[in-house]
Amino acid sequence: MKKIIISGFGGQGVLSLGKFISYSAIEQNLNTSWLPSYGPEMRGGTANCSVIYSDEEIAAPVIDRPDILIVFNEPSLDKFEASVKEGGIIISNSDIVHKKPTRKDVTHYEIPVDTLASAINKRGANVYMLGVLLPVFGDITEESAVQAVEHVFEAKPKVIPSNIECLKAGIAYMKNLMK
Amino acid sequence: MKIIADKPKMLTETPTHYCPGCTHGIVHRLIAEVLEELGKTEGAIGIAPVGCAVYAYRYFNCDMIEAAHGRAPAISSAVRRVVNPDNIIFCYQGDGDCASIGMAETVHAAMRGENITVIFINNGIYGMTGGQMAPTTMPGVKATTCIYGRDPKVYGNPVHLSEMLATLTGPAYIERVACYDVPHVKKAKAALKKAFTVQMEKKGLSFIEVLASCPTNFHMTPIEAMEFVKTQAEPFYPLGVFKDITKEEN
C-alpha cells in the first residue's frame, strides 16, 4: 500500500497528477482511491489530493501519514512536511520551492520540473512528475502510466505524444538521480 | 322535453364547498365545458392548489394532483415531461398560491415556456385562511392583516401578475378576464378555450387571470361582491390580452 499526498497551487495540475497515479494503478488491477481537496478557489488557491493504491482493500481514503509527499509550492511543504512517515520521501518542484525540509529522517528530492518539462511541453510538468515518481514507486510500470496518460487525454489526442515524451524523460531523469 | 343545458361530465357529482357568490364554481364549470368542447377531457391532468380551491381535485373528473402551496407550476413542469404530450395539463391556483408563495415557480415555468395552462384566480384576498392580505390586495382595501386598509408605504404594493409575465419570452398567451356578469363569463370562457388551444398547438405556457369575488371575506352580499370586482378591481387590474404569440405569428 502506498499513500501519497500531492499539493500545490490550483492550476499546477496537482489534482490531475493524482488522477494519473490512480489511473495507472487501476491498469494493474490494483485498488486505488483519489481524494481531492475541493473549495471555492478554482485557480490560484491551494489544492491537494490524497492518493492511495494497494493490492488490498482500501479502508480510509484519508491519509494521516503519507509515504510520499509531492509539493509544488512552499505553503504545501509547510503544511504537510511534519506528517510524512519516518523514512518517507518528499519531492519538491524546485523551480518554485526553494525551501528545504527540516526533517532529517526523510529522503528529499529537488526536481526543477517546470524547467525540465518546458523543453518538451510547457504544460507537461505534472506528467513529467509522474515519470519522476515511477522509479520511486517501483511497482507501477511505464506501460500502465502510458495507458493512464492516453486515457486522461482521450479527448485531446494531439497532446498525447508530447506528454508521453515528458513521462519518459521524467523516468529517465529520476533513474539517473537515484543511481 | 329537450335538455339544452346540463352539468359537464368533466365535473364530478361532488357538491362544491365554495361560499355563495364565489367565482371558483363558475371557473370550474368553464374549464370543464371548454375541455369537453375541445374533446380534451380524456387524459387531462389537473394540479390543485392550497387555498380555497384545495378540493379542486374532488370536482374535476380527471387525474388530479394536490400540490403543496405554490408549487403547482413546478409539479406540472415535471408531469409535462413524463406524460403523453397531447394530454392537457392545467394548474388551478389562487393569488396567494400563484403570486406570493409560488411566485418563483410561476415565473420560472413561464420563463421555460412550459406547455401547460395556468388558471390564476385573483380575488385580492386570502380566502381559506380567513381574509388576510393577498399579494393582489388593492391599496386601501381592508384585510385581517391590514385592518385600516392596505397602505403601500407600510404593506408594500400589489402585483399585476399578467402584465409582469407578459414581459417574458416564454409565455405564449396571457389574458385577464372577469366573471361578474354573463358577457364577461362568456369572454372568460373564450379566453380559456384560447388558452387550451394554445396548449394543444404546443405553443407554450398559457395564463388566464380571472378577477374573482370573495363575498365572505370582504363582508359583502354576492351581488355587492360582483359589483366590487366590476367597479373597484377591474379599473385597477384592466382586462385584456397581454401576450399572444399566435397573433405575432400571423
Binding site: T32, W34, A59 | M64, A67, A68, A74, A78, R81, E105
Partner: protein, 354 residues
Amino acid sequence: MKKLWKGNEAIAEAAVAAGCRYFFGYPITPQNEIPEYLSWRLFEVGGAFIQAESELSAINMVYGAASAGARAMTSSSSPGISLKQEGISYIAAAELPCVIVNMMRSGPGLGGIQASQGDYFQATKGGGHGDYHCIVYAPSTVQEFVDIIYNAFDVADEYRNPVMIIGDGMLGQMMEPAEIPPMKDTSKMFEKYHKDEWATCGHSDGKPRIINSLRIEPDENEEFTLRLYKKYEEIAKKETKVEEYRMDDAEIVFVAYGSVARICKAAIVELREQGIKAGLIRPITLYPYPTATIEKAAKSDKVKKFVTVEMSMGQMVEDVRLAVNGKKPVEFYGRCGGNVMMPADLVKYIKEGK
C-alpha cells in the same frame, strides 16, 4: 468491468442504469457533478432534466414526475436538503416513490463545504413536518453507493416511499474503482408498479386517480398515519442492512456509518496490530436502524464498550444508546465543522481515552 469513477458521476450513471429517467436539481457544492452528468445523460436515454429555480421547485418536480409514475430523483447538499424538506414530507404523505441524495456538508447555516454527517437527525427522524420516515441508506464506498442507488428505485417503488441516500463531500468527490451494473429494462417498470393503480399519468378510463396529502378529518388522517407506520414496520423487517466487521472477538465496538466507517476500519487494523481487539458495526440503513445487531453485541460478554464515531457533535449516538440500553458504556468521538478524523486519532482515543 471496474472503472475509475468519481463518486458523484458513478451515482448518476448508476441511477440511469436503475431506470431513473428524470432528475430535477439545483446547484450546490459538493454534489454538482450529479446534475452536471445527468443534464446530458438523461436525454440520451429518453428522459429529461430540469435545472430548477430552487430546491423547493426541484423536489416538487420530483413530486410531479413521481405522481405521473416515473422514476425520478433529486440530489443536493445539506442546506439544499433543508429547503427540500417541505416537499419530502408531502412526498411521504402522498406515498410517492423517489430517490433523494444528500452529499452532506457541514452546517449549521451556510456552514462549510467539507464533508460532514450533521444531517443524521434530519434524515432519519423526519426532517420535514409530521409523522413520516424516509428509508435512509448510508453507503461507505463509491461501489456501495452505486449498488444501493441501483436498488433504491425498486425499494421506493415497492413501498411507495421516498428513499434518501446520504453520503458526504468525501464520497461524492473521491475517485475509486467501481462497476456500474447493467441497464435495467425500463419498458415494463411503469406498468409493473403504477400505471393502472394510482399514477396520475392522464387516464381516460373514467376513473380519476388522485395524488393527495390532504386528510382534513382527524380520523382519516390517523387511519392513514397508522397505515404508514405499518408500512415502516414491514420495511424494518425486510430492508434493514448492517455490516459487522471483525466483531467475532471484538471487545471495543465502533459504531459508524458512511465514510467514517472506513476510517474506523483502518483504525481497527492498527489497533489489532497493537493487540487491541476492536470491531465495527456499520449501519447501512440508518432508517430502519439495525437496533437488533447492536442489542446483540451489547449482550455479548466479550464486548466491553461501544464507541460511536461521527462527523458531527453526536447524532447517531442517541440511537446507539437506545439500542445498548445501558448494558454497556457508550462513548462518542466526533469531529465537526467539516473536519475529518484520522485513523491515528481513533487509535489514540482508544489507547489514551482522548
